[in-house]
């Protein structure tokens, strides 16, 4: 069984790197891709979706930061929702914000969890392992 690819959409390289390190340290062996912006992530996903369409959504999981340059995390999810294939990729929202406004807005989108930084990496590992199981 192949492990799904984790795509982390995070503009801050320092944070993206720590996520990478922590997830692999906690024993996650899934391949990991990083996108520095929402647009980059959308382009990447669209090009990936062209090549294989069967079970596409089950091959990926997204870690989406809310505060992104250009399209923010919510706007990225809006775009994903408007795509008939990409909308089914599971998402984990990661954010520095505990603003009630952000948390309530996140409820407009399907997601596995809204996690506030510093992240609970064990929880991420658990969620991804559940998906792969």
């Amino acid at each position: 069984m192949t492990l799904r690819t984790i795509i982390i959409i995070e503009d801050d390289p320092a944070h993206a790197r720590i996520v990478e390190r922590m997830l692999s340290r906690l024993g996650l062996q899934n391949p990991l891709l990083r996108c520095a912006s929402g647009n980059e992530a959308l382009q990447l996903l669209e090009s990936l979706a062209k090549d294989n369409s069967t079970n596409f959504a089950s091959q990926y999981v997204l870690l989406i930061d809310i505060n992104l340059p250009g399209l923010n995390g919510f706007q990225v999810m809006e775009k994903l929702d408007s795509n008939s294939v990409l909308r089914f990729i599971p998402r984990i929202i990661i954010s520095t914000s505990d603003e009630p406004l952000d948390i309530s807005r996140s409820k407009d989108f399907a997601h596995l969890a809204y996690l506030i930084k510093p992240l609970d990496y064990a929880r991420i590992v658990e969620l991804i392992k559940e998906l792969d199981a």
Partner: protein
């Protein structure tokens, strides 16, 4: 004109009440409505008076009815495009009434024609100059009717003429009421309305500015929440990374240490065993402290943005649920809850936040050598509820009382407890957000009582 609403003391003499009623500014919608009703009433009185005159002195009233009808027609015409014709007709009616009246007067020695004319002409001309045509019209009617009635009594001795006199006075009275209402409108209500509209415009401008400022604060706090926090989170996480790496290399270094000379060994040991962990510890602590300060600033920024709500809730349930959060510090015997209003209508979240913060403070700053005791009570006032939270804690040093509600300030006897110094500032902001006030009395090492008011929006029963 300084205040828009004046409060009347409970007990007043009748004279001063009348004086108040006469001099109090009438600017509310109700007052304008009353004035309109007064005008209608005076018009009805006038109609009554005219019908009296017409009924009781049918024939001799012609000199009244004709000029008045002409004057009315003149007034109506003057409102149309033919202004000059209308004014001409009114002038003719006026002159006609004077000459007709004079011709009827039989005894020229009793009533001086000159005095008669002065009596009639001066007020009419004056009112014509000062007031709108309608008032002048009523004044003409009133003067002619009253003078005619007076003349009738003096020269005919007919008792029925008494009614004419009465009718004349009633007419006069109605004219005066109409006149007064116009006086009020032109010299009192209109300038005040202009003033009010100006104040309203200013208020709207201020509101817009405030909305803008609020939006800016919102953007600012959003920026803090996201942009300022990210590097802080990274700092905390990378401290952990360095710790992890240190732990990883430690066995290798430990293994290699014996191969080093004593001089080489001691700086490595010092760095590894005390300096590096200490530096990382302080770095971590500073980042976390900065992060919690950012959190506090955010919390404060949110108070101003919050729209207050009106909820109906039970204070006792709320207080009990707060107290239950401290099963160890606050046992059942440690809290006395006094009489509380059955229901309060206010912003539930704010009131709960305030009480929770004050209770939390009491628990945190309890005097260590005696068990904490809390006394929570409330006073119900006509439009507010004052809640008192009394503790037997360490108290606030008298010299520092002025700093209690200042942001990022902590009392000198609280250094053993962690905190940012924002708590009570936040509490005050919350209380003031919903129109209340907060204050305290304290005695060092005896205890403190915090009191705050909440606007109770319950309708009085």
């Amino acid at each position: 004109m300084a205040t828009l609403s004046s409060t009347i003391p409970a007990k007043q003499s009748i004279a001063s009440q009348i004086w108040d009623a006469l001099t109090r500014p009438h600017i509310t919608i109700t007052d304008l409505g009353e004035r309109r009703r007064a005008t209608i009433a005076s018009a009805l009185l006038l109609a009554l008076a005219i019908s009296f005159s017409v009924l009781l002195i049918i024939l001799p009233t012609l000199p009244v009815i004709v000029p008045v009808a002409l004057s009315f027609a003149g007034y109506a015409i003057s409102r149309s495009q033919h202004i000059n014709a209308g004014i001409g007709l009114s002038m003719f009616a006026f002159v006609l009434s004077i000459f007709w009246q004079m011709a009827i007067v039989t005894d020229w020695s009793s009533v001086s024609a000159l005095g008669y004319m002065v009596w009639m002409v001066v007020p009419v001309v004056l009112s014509g100059l000062l007031f709108p045509p309608r008032t002048t019209f009523w004044l003409v009617v009133a003067l002619i009717t009253s003078i005619y009635a007076l003349r009738f009594v003096v020269f005919t001795n007919i008792p029925a003429a008494g009614f004419g006199v009465a009718g004349g006075f009633v007419t006069m009275l109605s004219a005066i009421i109409t006149l007064a209402s116009y006086l009020q409108e032109f010299y009192f209500v209109r300038p005040r309305l202009a003033e009010l509209r100006k104040a309203q415009r200013e208020l709207q401008a201020k509101n817009r500015a405030l909305e803008l400022a609020n939006a800016e604060i919102k953007d600012f706090s959003y920026m803090i929440a996201h942009d300022l926090r990210s590097p802080l989170v990274n700092m905390t996480e990378y401290v952990n990374e360095i710790r992890y790496s240190l732990d990883a290399v430690k066995p290798a270094i430990d293994a290699g240490l014996p191969t080093l000379t004593l001089d080489q060994r001691s700086p490595v040991q010092l760095a590894l065993q005390s300096d590096l962990p200490e530096s990382l510890g302080y770095l971590d602590m500073s980042a976390k402290r900065l992060n919690s300060l950012v959190g506090e600033i955010l919390r404060l920024a949110r108070v101003g943005q919050r729209e207050t709500t009106h909820d109906t809730f039970d204070l006792r349930t709320m207080i009990n649920s707060i107290v239950e959060r401290y099963p160890h510090a606050l046992s059942q015997q440690a809290v006395t809850i006094g009489e509380l209003p059955v229901q309060v209508v206010a912003d539930r979240v704010i009131v709960e936040e305030v009480i929770a913060n004050l209770v939390d403070n009491a628990v945190k700053y309890a005097q260590k050598d005696r068990p904490l005791h809390l006394d929570i009570s409330a006073e119900t006032k006509p439009d507010s509820v004052v809640i008192h939270i009394k503790d037997n804690g360490r108290g606030i040093p008298t010299a520092e009382e002025n700093n209690v509600f200042m942001p990022f300030r902590r009392a000198s006897n609280t250094t053993d407890v962690e905190g940012t110094g924002v708590g009570l500032y936040y509490v005050r902001a919350l209380v003031e957000r919903q129109g209340g006030r907060i204050w305290f009395t304290s005695q060092p090492s005896v205890g403190t009582t915090f009191s705050f008011s909440i606007n109770n929006l319950t309708e009085p029963q």
